[in-house]
């Protein structure tokens, strides 16, 4: 990891340091501070959601009811999903965007710095509301993270009202964050940084931000209709008044499907930086990568009903959504092909970020293939709501999104802290996570195909062995994340001094500034050729 380039000139750095004390974090308008806040918050939520996952796996270690009440089990699955999606994965990507996008495009900060602070600080309040529902009468939301009506309306605990307002605040946070990112990318690029020279992470976020602005308001709309049904006597999701519970699913998944790409496109961007760096080659097929992401984004608006094949769609709907879904494999395949081709004949080294990146390519592809299986409507009638679905989306989210976030954190940590990370501990963390994740989620394919339904605290005896294996894997994976926490904290505090170009093959403006990056970078924009 020695860098060839020893340039440590901090381009356009003015000597304004951060404020001191807690006020620095509460009142900050600095994109690096806000990026750090997002990342720490995301880590806290990742551990919180992780504890809930371990409670689920502990209960499922053996058949029968041992540890928790079935009602509480349902609250755990619901809260685990909500916290991981809205509290861990999304804020982590926004944090990375805050830290990296201004540095990557040569901008002095985000376009709207005060709004940037607000986008972050409403999140802890939203999650305080959401998590406080655990202590309320009737318990926390227990209807699954997809909160289908009428479970979430007619049969919901009273805390659903707080859940609705928490979702509203999270949506505001995402919309404001996305507006800021789009304005930054479109308006703050250094002279000479044309669109087709944008770093791939920036491109991935431009497309993601568009998706966020397009679908978060739809989520706000659907929870508003829930609120009206619950408290104000409307019948959007009640057939007795002429509405339709299936309407809920349509509106929800019109948000929900683009949402899953919101959680993977920035990961694509991160991986597209790490693989070229450690292959010491340029990314293969830059333009096709951009077009692939744009195609995935457009297709994401046309496939939502593949989550609803068993709900009773007209045949023509089943067929349309089946084929449209399969089309997504084409641009995704282009991306996987380009990553592999970037590595082909490169001079590869396998530092921690690269290990996570390669695992991402392999394991995300497995998740993609099980997605293709689920896309086949007649086959989905068997798979629907089984552990096969659980296996599928955890493969794309854990060794997909989460591994990419970890790869990104390890990759950019020297830039943020000025210290090289502990490589041995990083690799140990990688191998334990890699093994743990596969032991956890691979057996779920089998028990899912054999018919074990999701979201149940107890199960038939024939699923016992694989459940026990999965639970062991979950605990390995869960506890090995403490290594990650420890490594990050140690790297923040001390470690071998990192150079400006912390990794030998790293390219891009962010590696031209010193490590740690000065508090203000590019107050005057650099010239990009």
């Amino acid at each position: 990891m020695s860098t060839l380039d020893t340039a440590t000139d901090d381009i356009g750095h003015d000597h304004h340091g951060p404020a001191s004390g807690i006020g620095r974090w509460l009142f900050t308008t600095n994109h690096k501070d806000i990026g750090s806040l997002y990342l720490w918050f995301s880590l806290l939520m990742f551990l919180t959601g992780g504890v809930m996952a371990l409670m689920i796996r502990a209960e499922l270690f053996q058949p029968g009811l041992q540890l928790v009440e079935p009602g509480f089990f349902n609250q755990m699955t619901t809260m685990h999903g909500l916290i991981m999606v809205f509290g861990a994965v999304m804020p982590a990507f926004v944090g990375l965007a805050n830290w990296m996008i201004p540095m990557m495009i040569g901008a002095p900060d985000m376009a709207l710095p005060r709004m940037n602070n607000w986008s972050f600080w409403i999140l802890p309040f939203a999650f305080a509301i959401l998590i406080s529902t655990l202590l309320m009468e009737g318990g926390a939301p227990n209807f699954g993270w997809t909160f289908y009506a009428p479970l979430s309306t007619t049969y919901a605990p009273p805390s659903v009202t707080y859940f609705i307002f928490a979702i509203h605040i999270m949506g505001m946070s995402s919309i404001m964050g996305a507006i800021n990112i789009i304005a930054t990318i479109l308006n703050m690029r250094a002279p000479g940084m044309t669109m087709m020279k944008l770093p791939m992470f920036v491109w991935s976020w431009l497309i993601t931000a568009f998706l966020l602005i397009a679908v978060m308001p739809v989520l706000a709309g659907v929870v508003t209709m829930m609120l009206m049904d619950i408290h104000f006597g409307t019948s959007f999701f009640n057939a007795a008044g002429g509405g339709d519970p299936v309407l809920f699913q349509h509106v929800f998944w019109f948000f929900g499907h683009p949402e899953v790409y919101i959680m993977i496109l920035p990961a694509f961007g991160i991986i597209s930086h790490i693989i070229p760096t450690f292959s010491r080659k340029r990314l293969f097929g830059y333009a096709s990568m951009v077009y692939a992401m744009a195609s995935i984004a457009i297709l994401s608006f046309l496939v939502w009903a593949h989550h609803m094949f068993t709900v009773g769609l007209p045949l023509v709907g089943e067929l349309f959504f089946m084929f449209a879904t399969m089309l997504i494999a084409v641009p995704t395949g282009v991306k996987v092909f380009n990553w592999v081709t970037t590595m082909f004949r490169g001079s590869l080294t396998f530092e921690t970020p690269m290990l996570f990146a390669i695992a991402f390519v392999v394991l995300f592809t497995i998740g993609g293939f099980s997605g293709l299986m689920l896309a086949i409507a007649p086959v989905d009638f068997q798979y629907h709501d089984t552990y096969f679905v659980v296996a599928h989306f955890h493969y794309v989210l854990v060794p997909g999104a989460i591994f990419a976030i970890m790869a990104g954190v390890y990759y950019w940590l020297p830039k943020w802290t000025g210290h090289q990370l502990n490589e041995r501990m990083g690799r140990l963390h990688f191998w334990l996570s890699f093994i743990g994740v596969n032991i956890t989620f691979f057996p779920m394919h089998f028990i899912g195909l054999a018919g074990m339904p999701r979201r149940i605290p107890d199960y038939a005896l024939q699923f016992a062995d694989f459940n026990m294996v999965a639970s062991i894997g979950a605990f390995i994976f869960g506890f090995s994340q403490l290594l990650f926490v420890w490594n990050v904290i140690q790297t923040v505090r001390h470690g071998e001094k990192a150079q400006a170009r912390a990794w030998e093959g790293a390219e891009g403006l962010e590696w031209e500034v010193a490590s740690p990056a000065p508090y203000h970078t590019f107050a005057t924009p650099p010239r990009v050729d």
Binding site: T29, I122, F125, M225, H231, S235, V246
Partner: protein, 295 residues
């Protein structure tokens, strides 16, 4: 991409964290209040939180926007900053478009698929087994279960108040454009006059809409509880009405700023942002008039 040298990055600000606290009070308070009313456990604390949150948020909005206006008038904002605001407002309006799209989507789904299926039509007509006597129609005057959801007795006649409101709102889109043209020519008096007309039209619209709601509830039996027609009617017109109200408040603030001598023919994005918003509200109304009232 010009004038990069002077992008203004503000110093630390206490507004966002205060606004976060206000938003928390509003959200948690609203939840407590609404739950208290529905479950008859009283929501006094919730009401208190909502009021405190609203008061705090009002103060913050004045202070925060005051900051921005001050910075703008001090000449701290470059042309590039202006473009950031323009992108920001454009994408915000796009997000609003998608918010209404969710409700329009619900309306189209219900009237073209869900209600006909309940009436026994098409592929999914089996759901008629639930209420065999139900006949599909739109607007839905007799919901499947009339005990639970008594349908409306009559509907709002589109060719009276709604037509009048359409005329008012479309006219106001023209008058605000006239105000803008006057501003571009630095003709203060005409700006003030056309802004005044626009605000008057906006307030009249809101008044008529309120009158229509009272009529709907007291005479027509068209309520939130009147089945899915009432639900879609009120959520679409209600959110639109809230947006017109917000737009009118913003217009009044802009008028106040004009009277204070803010804005020049070159620099007046605050004015333009509100004008964009007003046009957006107008376009949504055209959609409402067609798909909720007429067709």
């Amino acid at each position: 991409m010009s004038t990069h040298a002077s992008y203004y990055v503000p110093e630390q600000s206490r507004w966002p964290i205060l606004a976060s606290i206000a938003l928390f009070l509003l959200a948690f308070g609203a939840g407590t209040l609404i739950n208290g009313i529905t479950h008859e456990t009283g929501g006094g604390l919730g009401l208190l939180m909502v009021l405190a949150g609203a008061l705090l948020m009002g103060g913050i909005l004045v202070g925060w926007f005051g900051n921005v206006i001050h910075e703008s008038r001090a000449g701290l904002y470059s042309a590039q900053m202006d473009r950031s605001f323009r992108w920001g407002m454009s994408w915000f309006i796009f997000s609003e478009v998608m918010f209404f799209a969710a409700f329009f989507g619900a309306l189209f789904y219900v009237r073209t698929l869900a209600v006909p299926w309940l009436g026994g039509e098409g592929d999914k007509g089996v759901s008629q087994m639930l209420w065999p006597d139900f006949t599909a129609q739109w607007p839905l005057m007799n919901p499947p279960d009339t005990e639970q959801f008594a349908g409306p007795k009559a509907l709002v006649d589109p060719w009276h108040i709604p037509l009048l409101n359409t005329v008012l709102l479309v006219t106001s889109s023209f008058t605000i454009t006239l105000a803008h043209h006057a501003l571009l020519k630095d003709q203060r008096q005409r700006v003030v006059r056309w802004m005044g007309v626009t605000i008057f039209l906006g307030i009249t619209f809101i008044g008529f809409q309120a009158y229509e709601y009272v009529e709907a509830y007291t005479k027509l039996g068209l309520t939130l509880n009147a089945g899915v027609y009432g639900a879609t009617f009120f959520i679409l017109t209600g959110f639109h009405g809230l947006h017109v109200t917000l737009g009118t408040v913003m217009l009044i603030i802009i008028l106040g700023r004009i009277l204070k001598g803010h804005f020049s023919s070159q620099q007046h994005f605050g004015f333009e942002a509100v004008a964009w918003y007003w046009h957006f509200v107008d376009v949504v109304w055209i959609g409402l008039f067609l798909f909720v009232y007429v067709i």
